[in-house]
């Protein structure tokens, strides 16, 4: 029998390992000589695999009866993580290296580990033109470290640091391995998101200066900050995270970045990078400034509904495969943000599962779009067609991913979207009912544009571009099948994502009641 203290210290080691492994891996891979390029990519994959396993093991405490959530007792933090590490970092400024994992962050941590692993594995098989494979793999690991840090950080300043760490490697991935317009797209991405970061920094210091601490656990629930401070802080946070998520109309960096990014870049970008925005909004925005969130919720909800409709309508007239999927992300993140904006437990939970589902499904979609573009040498919908004649498996997978993405019940995408609508109905009142109706209409439009996509790409006679293209390679099956399975499994067993998040979400939104 293991004593609880042993468990928690073991968990602390796991937690630190989750962050350290990708960094070490990136260093090792980057230092390997150029002639061992393939070997370096395999080493990167191994590091990603170990990180994934370690990250997955963080759920161990939930399997036993562990007091990881504490309702009662004054002074006790309302959100208690399963495992945490709290080291003094800059004591003079009250900044700690405080990381921890709970039910809100855990699914995203695992998703990050999984997608990085799949992307690293994919680079072993295929390196996009533009640079050396091991550098790309190393950058992917740095990205992973930054993203994991963002999800694990429990200190506001630390959160900001990790949030920023992600920016440059992503810039390098797009600018180094992207399409013909890569430099422009990468510049736009980095400048636009930096603009968001400036606001985030302002928000962080507004809060830290007013509260005297950056500890997210202490700050959760408002920490007695004045209403004005909360409103200012939330407004700053909301815009900063809205750029990242992205929320219409702050989304225009996304289509360019996605269209130009290499396949693995798109997968990470859509799969987990955008989630930093929505996660931040839940953890930092709603958590630290609940009153501000309540004040801004109607605006956020209206913008989210507008994003759903605008994203879908743009997709309906979109002519480029990857651009279309990028815009579909705008619509899907609109559902996630609508869920958050309701500020109900139902809505935030819907947002959490919507986040994960979007990461899995859109990751798969970008893998498939990349595969099609690489084979046909065009992403223009007019030039594609009849894929099911020349590559039936690829067409079948695209059909599956598209149908999952349009929110078919029984697959992962359904829960987040349907329950965002349910949460808006639950919230009640003319405004939220209207938003629910608009979001539901957006659901129908989503179906329309995805079916239009399928009709263009898979049906009809095979065009010259797709004739004689190779089928799905074993390495691709290896990279895709986890995502296919997860789409099905999360759809059938939503509790996998939801169960652990229920109590922390209730605690976070509890401050509003």
């Amino acid at each position: 029998m293991i004593a609880p203290t042993d468990v928690s210290s073991a968990l602390q080691i796991l937690l630190l390992a989750t962050l350290a492994l990708p960094v070490v891996g990136a260093l090792v891979v980057a230092l390997m000589p150029a002639r061992l390029d393939r070997g370096a990519r395999i080493v990167a994959t191994a590091f990603a695999a170990v990180t994934f396993v370690v990250a997955a093991l963080l759920a161990l405490p939930t399997t036993r009866d562990f007091g990881w959530f504490d309702y009662g007792g004054t002074g006790a933090p309302p959100v208690a993580p399963w495992a945490e590490v709290d080291l003094a970092w800059v004591p003079a400024l009250g900044i700690d290296f405080h990381v921890g994992v709970d039910g809100i962050s855990y699914p995203l941590v695992v998703l990050t580990g999984l997608l990085t692993l799949l992307c690293c594995g994919y680079t072993v098989w295929k390196v996009p033109a533009g640079g050396s494979g091991r550098t790309l793999a190393a950058l992917l690991l740095v990205l992973e470290a930054g993203i994991l840090g963002t999800f694990l950080a429990l200190d506001l300043v630390l959160f900001f640091v990790f949030f920023e760490v992600v920016l440059l490697p992503m810039y390098a991935v797009i600018a180094g391995w992207g399409g013909p317009e890569r430099r422009r797209a990468a510049r736009k991405f980095v400048l636009y998101t930096l603009f968001g970061s400036v606001l985030l920094l302002l928000g962080v210091f507004t809060v830290v200066a007013a509260a005297g601490t950056g500890d997210l656990l202490a700050l959760a629930g408002g920490y007695g900050l004045s209403r004005t401070t909360q409103c200012v802080a939330f407004a700053l946070f909301a815009v900063a995270f809205a750029v990242k998520a992205p929320l219409w109309p702050l989304h225009t960096w996304l289509p360019d970045a996605h269209t130009e990014a290499p396949t693995v870049g798109s997968v990470i970008l859509a799969g987990v990078l955008l989630k930093m925005g929505t996660y931040g909004l839940i953890r930092v925005g709603v958590g630290v400034a609940p009153e501000g969130a309540a004040w801004a919720a109607p605006v956020l909800g209206i913008l989210a509904a507008a994003a759903i409709i605008a994203g879908s309508l743009v997709c309906l007239r979109q002519t480029e495969l990857k651009r279309l999927i990028a815009y579909s992300s705008v619509g899907h993140m609109g559902f996630v943000l609508l869920g958050i904006a309701t500020l109900t437990v139902t809505g935030v939970q819907a947002a959490l599962i919507g986040n994960v589902a979007h990461g899995v499904i859109t990751g798969l979609l970008f893998f498939l779009a990349g595969a099609i573009k690489d084979r046909a040498h065009t992403g223009d919908l007019a030039g594609l067609g009849g894929l099911r004649e020349s590559a039936p498996r690829l067409a079948g997978l695209l059909g599956f991913a598209a149908i999952a993405s349009l929110g078919l019940p029984g697959l992962a995408g359904f829960w987040g979207e349907a329950f965002a609508v349910v949460a808006a109905v639950e919230r009640g009142g003319p405004l939220w009912i209207t938003l629910a109706v608009v979001a539901a209409v957006g659901g129908a439009l989503t179906a329309t544009y995805f079916l239009r996509l399928l009709r263009r790409v898979t049906h009809g006679p095979a065009t010259g571009a797709v004739t004689g293209i190779p089928g799905v390679a074993p390495a691709e099956w290896l990279a895709w099948s986890p995502l296919i399975l997860l789409t099905l499994v999360v759809g059938l067993v939503p509790a996998l994502v939801l169960a652990a998040g229920a109590d922390p979400v209730a605690a976070l939104t509890g401050a509003l009641r």
Partner: protein, 633 residues
Amino acid sequence: MTAEVLMPLLAGVPLLLGLAGLLLPPGDGGRDGRRRAATVGVAGAALALLITVVLLVVVAEPVGVTHRWATFGDLPVTLGFSLGKAELYVALAVTVVALFVQIYSVTYLHDDPRYAPYAAQVSLFTGAMLLVVSADDLILLLVGWEVMGACSYLLIGHDRRLPEAPAAAVKAFVVTRVGDVGFLLGIAWLGVSAGSFRISDVLADSGVPTVALLLVLAGVAGKSAQFPLHTWLPDAMAGPTPISALIHAATMVAAGVYVVFRLFPLFAQSPAALAVLGVMASITLLLGALAATAQDDLKRVLAWSTVSQIGYMTGALAVGAPAAALFHLLTHAAFKALLFLAAGAVIHAVGTNLMSRMGGLRTSMPVTFWSFVVGLGALAGVPPLAGFWSKENVLVAAAHATEGEGPAPVWVGWVVWLAALTGVAITAWYATRLLLRTFFGHPRSRDDRWSLGFDDAFYEESADPVPHDPPGLMRWPVVLLGIPAVLLGLAAFLPGFRSALELDQPHLEVSILLPMALLVLGASSAWWLWQAAPGVDPAKALGRLRPWFAAGFRLDDLQNRLIVRPVRALAQGVRLTDERVVDAAVEGTGTSATRLGTVLEAAHRAALPRAAVAVFTGALLLGVVAAIYGAAS
């Protein structure tokens, strides 16, 4: 105990086998590949049928089983199943039709290289419908409901040689999805109002607002092809004929009616919702019947007749007779599956869908001919075939409602009753026309223009010039379906069946004479027109209304003009706004920053004298400011 294990399996087995079937090689896997795919497909339907039969034997009272599935906030979502006798009869109809469709398809698609995914999708389709039938949770029901929509999309778009198939498939999914906007909102409303999505909890909720029920009705209209969302169904004929049988008989269109049946206690409390349903039903009933009179495509006649017959079912629901609706659903499943599978045999044999190219098939295809006689007779309501009894039930229920009995307003009773009576005559008319045009008269010879229209069975360029009855695997399902098409109506005399559906005893009173007279009138006028001018389409008598009816009252055009094109234009507008305003503003910030930088940079580029002057001026200014500031403080 048995029941609790078997209930989830009822839908689960075909769904799992369908998923497994999708993993089989999609290309032409040779004989073995086809055989494997066929085995998996047929096994799914057969096992589901077996489970249904076992459940029918063991289940006496309605049983249920519930597992926690997920919890969103305070709202639990359950994996709940509940089945009573009535639900099991529907499941029986579904599984029987699905089994016959699977068997029939083995031959019908014998040279289709994409048979394996087809068979798997039929299994998924069946499983999804069984999920709708057995679900005791609205969210679970929605899963089945939408999976069915997706499968219908895949199957309608199956045929690669039909240019119209992909468009028809998209239309079917999108139109039903538009209805589902309402359905989802309605479910959300019901669930939030009851604090649970379990149907038994929702039914116990007393304060359900009418608007939630109307929203649910929107979804029902989409799935069950009710006006104004019926437009997808005739186009869905682009799917292979067995799929038409599946969609029209037991799944998909039946789902909407079934959901209203399941939720009927809620509808019974809301006369307004029933009134909307009644008006919708009456319009659909007449619209479908009239449109059926002018079609030249054999399958389209049957498709429009489905629209019309579903109108009878929703009409029965509207006048407060869910039992009559369910009874008609069951008999309709039998005779419509029979008709479609027999139509497939005709199309298979002659290589076209168009009745103007058929004729005189009675002698060469006797089995198919007699199947059609039975099926069309049941459709028209000729006693003692199945359709007669169920339609009689609907008419009696409507007549009762005109006397103010039941939950529906009196005027709704009148509207439904009159529409249903008129429908009897029109149905008889087009059924007679179909029979005469296809099987009587002279056989028409083939010519070059032969292969036009929805020729989905153009597999065999048969060297045999004489059409013939189909081979065994296609013939037996048709023949066997003839049995319920004849006898199922008589089940109304079995007390066990009646009590399961809570059906009234059939009463053969004087009131029966009016529909009978209308039936004779419709049939004989079609016959008279046909024999007066042999070889001429009786639909010619419709005169200038004919193209109007043939185009389904041009509602497609209307839908195109009012919805499709505006949405497309709006989308174009939004896309342009996104690129030229939203994105341009962002890009503009970048370029103007660069430009500003260029200007400043140019200003800083100066020769030494000017630079020196600038520095001294700056120093002077600062000095002055400092002096003033110092003096002031």
